[in-house]
Subunit: 568 residues, 2 copies
């Protein structure tokens, strides 16, 4: 491809609204333009990268025997109503009516619609089936941001597996897990496989693939020593035991008009946070619930959702709290509370001599024995792991890493096949409800994540496997016939070998050409200029290292091929 | 690919709801399933065909220098409002609101959104630009039907050209026209390029590519002798002159209580249809309009729309007619009408001694001289051409052919660039508004049109270029180790050569295997069975002709390659 015939509107300056590195570089490099918040146009360079990512994913799907489908993006409401997710998806689902008034949804995922197709399967002999597609997903995100990282419309590779029994599901799941690891490795994305919450998908287990990046929205807890890794939504840690003072017989009230926070109570009344109970009030699917944590711990809302199998949770308002407990935040507690369910973090189990609010403004209780004095309905892991805590597997210190979710795979169980009435003839002549898995990769997010991982101060540094072009031939002095001819010859030679070559034949200054090639991240640059040709040489520059090699013109193609093979 | 690992749910019987051949065969052959009216899932076989069609189109777009983009499918209402099409598109456009109440449209075409991108072009030196994408289009069709032929959601290849002046547009248009002819030829689609109406696109000219099929919704008029071809929406013909009787001085009333139709008037009062005026009453953009045609001619509504640059037309109701003309259909006429605009077909020009209704039930007028007695505001070509009429170019008889529209290209002019404020620096330092073209092919409709063209009573007969597999190796007796091994060897041999081979390794009876291979339309079948192997032979059968060749096992691959090259 000749640069003069390629539309690459590079910009001199960073776009004002871009914070994430990938957003900034993809706009500046002429890869993407925003139509409206959360909706991007891919320009020709981005289309080339996207297509290479799609090819990598397709190859790995084919290799494990997943078959490609293409399902509609518009769905009848009725099918989503049958699975119950018409309600669950809330505002994140785009909804509309057609000219006849029928209710429709824009697909945000395709569990329901693939399950409808599986209704045609007749016998256990038709299983397992693994099906996938590349299809646009639409999600009405509350806050689209970071360029391609969080959008309202994107291409997803989504697969679905149907098996007779859970051993089959384990196999389909493991095949996908291994394929995903190969995909991210081929894309040049370091992806940590972590245990994660299944969220609105339902199901028994899920693994996320998380790529470290400052632009990420997810925190991952990872052991420095063993293979333990989990999303903070799911992660836990080993806590050292706390030695409590001897217990009081009954809790004792004391005045604390000057202490409305954990920190004030600690400082002004000499009660360490570790000996305090943090009392939070939530509304869980419409019902008020007390959530208790150790004073120095923070709640992970997703853990609360998962523990209570809740559809929605939100902090209670000041009015709701006042009317239920008769006090304001700062003096709340669960001692003696019997009409509101209490959910407590495991770190409080067995603790004595604790301090908590007395449900009377400006008053706290001390000497509280949690299990004796509080009617805990539900014990669960609810707290957020922090860096430096001990690995639950091996005890080594844990790191907390900011990451982008680049893939997510789920063991779904029979939620969708049951809801949509799918069953096949079983081996024993009985009816069997197939068990499902689902597996997703966001294509444009993966593209942006590659940029988050591979860039420097000059621009993007694409890995060869996904680069829009493998090499740019930069012609210095396009009007010099000898230079133009040498460049043209090399261009044809490399293109004929099937390489993606970009010939920069523009009538621009050398500085502009070098900066553009660096900004758009072409892995190699071959510079053809009069000065070199006088000595019968060209220069091959590697984008990632900046190293330049001077080679004889006649050997340029061969030398480049060697370098490429060595690097691949 | 092994058939045992491919999901091909063929059906024994035709689906009850399918009328079009392509619909019937694509469902029976396990290519597609309907999710809801107008929305289809493509199963693995169809995904393979679609991908080959996409590749052909992409190659031809690249060959003429069109660059691939990918634009959002969801659009802000505001951009469509600026072009005026937010209103024009009416019920055919799916509309919705997001969580914040912003109005959105699902893209039914992308003129507006590509034009927004062109706002970044700065100079005439940046032109011409030709841009395209493969993207899902959504259209809320009043009556989705005929399987993939008329749907509410489909993949379109849409291109857009931006040029400085009309000569540039002519070039971009001609490049696309030639590319489209190559594309349809490679897909095996006989496509007639015809003059067509531009409809809601606007612009000065458009050419449709029409593939003959009984399932088509469009009629094309084509000369048997010269290259004249046009959609009936646009077609015209040369009519022989009519010799009228001598004119009366004034029209004369006569009673016709027994004649309410052209045919009755002709039969009972001896007035040939050719000497009658047919008076139709339409509501054009809200205004009542009389439309006059010769008694034996029919109106083409699209011609009325184009003539009057109307956005909507509909026949008037009986009440509207009664209140405007004081009579009922059967006795309507335009003589003496001055408060309702009259639009007359060119075939009425200069005619005398005509008969028309008197706007009094059961009464007609005779001796009407059209130009003397009727206040015609607008003369235009409004009538439908019928088979056998004379070609307007050469006079030879015209045929009327039922067709499917498989492509449509438009010279758009400056409608969109003006509406969206696009201009570039011109060669003379002035500002120039780019002139546009747009060019579309519906991918899944092309797929169905290929089936409409290539099938027989046994099923589909795919052309090699778009076949899901080029050859099926049918194994007779999968449990015979020698047979299985011979088939396997040939399978690997052909697959290693890069051919799309399907190995039918299923444990099914020969009849089932043969019927399935024929139904799904694989162009070649190689049959491997014990009987042939005993004589060291295989059979190669051509799907289109049914011809079978017996060849020695050792020469099978080479023979097949020869046959394929000969056929390609």
């Amino acid at each position: 491809m000749r640069w003069s015939q390629l539309y690459v509107p590079t910009l001199r300056d960073d776009p004002a609204d871009a914070e994430a590195v990938s957003h900034r570089l993809l706009v500046r490099g002429g890869f993407v333009r925003q139509l409206m918040a959360g909706h991007f146009t891919l320009l020709p360079l981005a289309v080339r990268v996207r297509s290479k990512i799609v090819d990598v994913i397709r190859e790995e799907m084919t290799a494990i025997g997943v078959q490609e489908f293409l399902l509609p993006a518009l769905h009848p409401a009725e099918i989503w109503q049958r699975s119950g997710r018409w309600e669950v998806m809330g505002e994140e689902m785009f909804r509309l009516k057609d000219r006849k008034g029928a209710e429709l949804a824009l697909g945000m995922t395709h569990e329901e619609i693939f399950t409808v197709l599986s209704q045609e399967l007749r016998s256990y002999r038709d299983l397992p089936q693994m099906w996938y597609q590349f299809q646009t997903k639409f999600r009405d995100e509350a806050r689209p941001k970071s360029g391609l990282l969080r959008v309202r419309e994107f291409t997803m590779k989504d697969s679905y597996s149907f098996d007779v029994a859970s051993e089959g599901l384990d196999r389909s799941f493991d095949l996908h897990k291994a394929a995903y690891q190969r995909i991210f490795s081929r894309l040049g994305l370091p992806a940590i496989a972590v245990q994660a919450s299944s969220g609105s998908m339902g199901g028994s287990a899920s693994v996320e693939f998380m790529s470290p990046s400052q632009a990420g929205e997810d925190l991952v807890v990872r052991c420095r020593s063993c293979d333990y890794a989990a999303n903070t939504e799911k992660a836990t840690s080993a806590l050292p035991a706390v030695a409590d003072s001897p217990a009081l017989v009954v809790p004792e009230r004391f005045d604390t008009p000057d202490a409305r926070t954990i920190e004030e109570l600690s400082r002004r009344h000499d009660v360490p946070a570790v000996s305090q109970i943090k009392t939070l009030v939530y509304v869980v699917d419409g019902e008020l619930t007390l959530v208790l944590l150790r004073g120095d711990h923070n709640l992970v809302e997703q853990k609360l959702i998962d523990t209570l199998a809740a559809q929605t949770v939100r902090p209670a308002t000041a009015e709701e709290i006042q009317s239920a407990l008769g006090a304001s935040p700062g003096s709340l507690g669960a001692v003696g509370v019997s009409d509101v369910p209490v959910c407590a973090d495991e770190a409080l189990r067995g603790r004595t001599s604790m301090v908590t609010g007395a449900n009377s403004d400006g008053v706290h209780l001390r000497g509280v024995s949690v299990e004796r004095d509080i009617a805990v309905q539900r014990w669960a892991d609810l707290r957020e792991v922090t860096a430096g805590e001990a690995c639950p597997q091996c005890g080594a210190p844990l790191d907390v890493v900011r990451t982008i979710e680049v893939g997510h795979i789920f063991k779904l169980g029979r939620k969708y096949t049951e809801a949509l009435g799918v069953s096949v003839l079983g081996p024993a002549g009985d009816r069997v409800v197939p068990i499902m898995g689902s597996y997703g990769i966001g294509v444009e997010r993966a593209l942006a994540a590659v940029v988050e991982t591979h860039h420097d101060e000059k621009g993007i540094v694409w890995p060869v496997a996904v680069a829009p072009f493998t090499v740019a031939i930069v012609v210095l002095g396009t009007k010099d016939a000898k230079v133009a001819e040498a460049a043209e010859t090399l261009y044809r030679q490399l293109a004929d070998e099937g390489l993606d070559v970009l010939l920069d034949d523009r009538d621009e200054r050398p500085g502009v050409k070098f900066r553009d090639a660096e900004l758009i991240g072409i892995p190699y640059r071959i510079t053809v200029g009069a000065r070199g040709l006088a000595e019968n040489t060209l220069e091959i520059t590697t984008r990632a290292t900046g190293e330049t090699q001077t080679v004889p013109v006649a050997e340029a193609a061969e030398q480049f091929r060697k370098q490429l093979t060595g690097a691949a």
